[in-house]
């Protein structure tokens, strides 16, 4: 059951979440061209989140604008300077936008944004290799593929998995989760070359099993 903070008067803008008077309203900068930006800590504060959650478009725009560079720094740190970074940022901002009305604890907006970023990052991992599952169309096996039902050369799937060393299994499972071999190398504290060698060895063991 969803729980929301209940303020005594029913007004979400009471108590310690009220913006200071100086931060309210619109002030023009020296050139008279519009709003002076407030500090990031203010525009990412619970007050702004509460107002954005209540439908204040201006607050929401500022909120998301402040979040963007944080996400940019974060995703570059995680996956490097790749084209996917911009997609991750956009998807995360969209996720935040869609979830604003349901934020339970405005003072924990950072955690809310973190979760959104983590969801997008792991969705990216999942989608990395999902389109490459089949080397061939499973309905049309390649010309040179041996028909396992007639040749007697099929390997029971469980038996095939059982020949994997624990290390190889770990690496391949991480690969199936969606990590790159370089990322897997970081996770298992070794080099990318060593990771790939494990994969090759796994293939060879499987091939010997097939021949046996």
């Amino acid at each position: 059951m969803e729980r929301r903070l209940q303020y005594p008067s029913g007004d979400p803008d009471i108590g310690r979440y009220r913006l200071p008077e100086s931060a309210l309203g619109v002030e023009k900068n020296e050139k008279g061209t519009g709003l002076d930006p407030m500090p990031a800590a203010v525009e990412l504060s619970a007050d702004f989140v509460i107002r954005a959650r209540a439908g204040d478009r201006s607050c929401e725009e500022r909120l998301l604008a402040r979040l963007r560079p944080i996400l940019h720094t974060y995703f570059i740190k995680r996956i490097g300077l790749r084209p996917e970074v911009e997609d991750l940022i956009q998807n995360t901002l969209l996720r935040v936008h869609n979830g604003l009305k349901d934020i339970e604890y405005p003072e924990r907006f950072m955690g809310f944004a973190m979760k959104a970023a983590l969801y997008e990052l792991h969705d990216l991992y999942r989608g990395r290799y999902s389109g490459r599952e089949s080397l061939y169309d499973p309905a049309e096996p390649p010309e040179h593929a041996t028909d396992p039902t007639t040749s007697g050369n099929a390997i029971d799937a469980e038996r095939a998995l059982s020949v994997l060393s624990p290390r190889a299994r770990q690496i391949l499972e991480l690969r199936e989760y969606g990590y790159r071999y370089k990322e897997i190398a970081d996770m298992v504290d070794t080099s990318e070359a060593a990771v790939k060698m494990q994969v090759k060895r796994a293939f060879e063991r499987m091939r010997r099993l097939l021949v046996a």
């Binding site: 005594p8 990412l44 604890y105 950072m110 599952e133 593929a145 199936e176």
Partner: protein
Amino acid sequence: MSDWIDQFIFFDELGEESRSGLDSILKQHGDAAVSAAFEEWKHLRSGLRSEFATRIPDRHSLIHFAMWRHGNASLLTVEELNSVEAMLPDFEEALDRSEALRAIVERIGDEQLDFLEAWRLHVGDVEAPSRPPSLGPLYSRRSSQRASNFVWRAAAVFLIAISTAALYKGLGVESEMIVVGSPADGLRQVVLDDGTMIRLVGGAELSYRRPSAEEPFDRNVSLTGRALFVVTSGSQRFVVETPAAVTTVWGTTFGLDSDESFTEVVLAEGRVSVVSRRDSQHPVVLEPGEMTRVVGAREPTTPVRVNITDALSYTRLFVFRNEKTFMIANKLTEHFGVSIRVHSALADETVTGTFERNWSLGYILQTVARTLDAEVKGSESDGYELAPRETGGRTM
């Protein structure tokens, strides 16, 4: 192994164009046996993917679990937290069975920290766990019940301040030893191979022999400074060495504070034995809520009763062990400066729980209330009340 075979082994790295050319490569170089091998390789990978997927039916739940696992439970919604707690046995079993899953959970910890650092860079300082944030469950339970949401089995808060003359500076200075340290003004949490979690505080350093396939983790560590240990139960005792003392536990929660010639041990839960390094013939065994000190070459002092919450405050945690609810309310009021009333029906109920001091008061009270099947009323401005749950009443 031939380069062209590598393309099949690593087919998932190829772009669309390269993959479409694999068939012609196979015609050129391969034979029926090789083709069959590659076909089986695909099946193996597919089987692995399917089996692994059954362990992680929902990636978001895995993320929630990892956040909870790494000390960020306060960032979860009530529904998410309830879901994590309900699935804890499943997560435990899945982690026990899969090295890959453990690695993913640890990596999510790093992903969280990177986010916090990015936030700090653009916004300013935030209260964040140090790397790697792997302390086990911070939970609340009625003292008469077994903890249902305790992740890493029998955790005890074991603060061991051990000054060690044998510690190495830096990380992994010698290949046989692992050295982990916390920032001078921060925290660092570590999980050892046996599931023991250690929270290093303010410049503490932990060292232990690097485990290997031939020599698994031996449950012997050395510590300098202050740390909180959550030691898993096991057939093998867990030993913590400091320059002044040797402390032995079997699944315990205790605190240690030490320097070169002084060690103080406060036991929150379980049993612990403390001896002086210079004289191991006169051990002192602590009961929960007791404290002993080793100074220089002297024997450990006679155990004395202490208030665990106060004695372990330097862990930056609230540690409540069989603490009456009204006392918990007093401690929280003292810390947060907010009045908390406890209904008479709940005042003498005892609770055991550990909470981060930087969590919001509301969140802590909600956790306590959930444990007592109670509800929290009021607000920070007007004060809170813990009361028995009413049917149909308004709650926080």
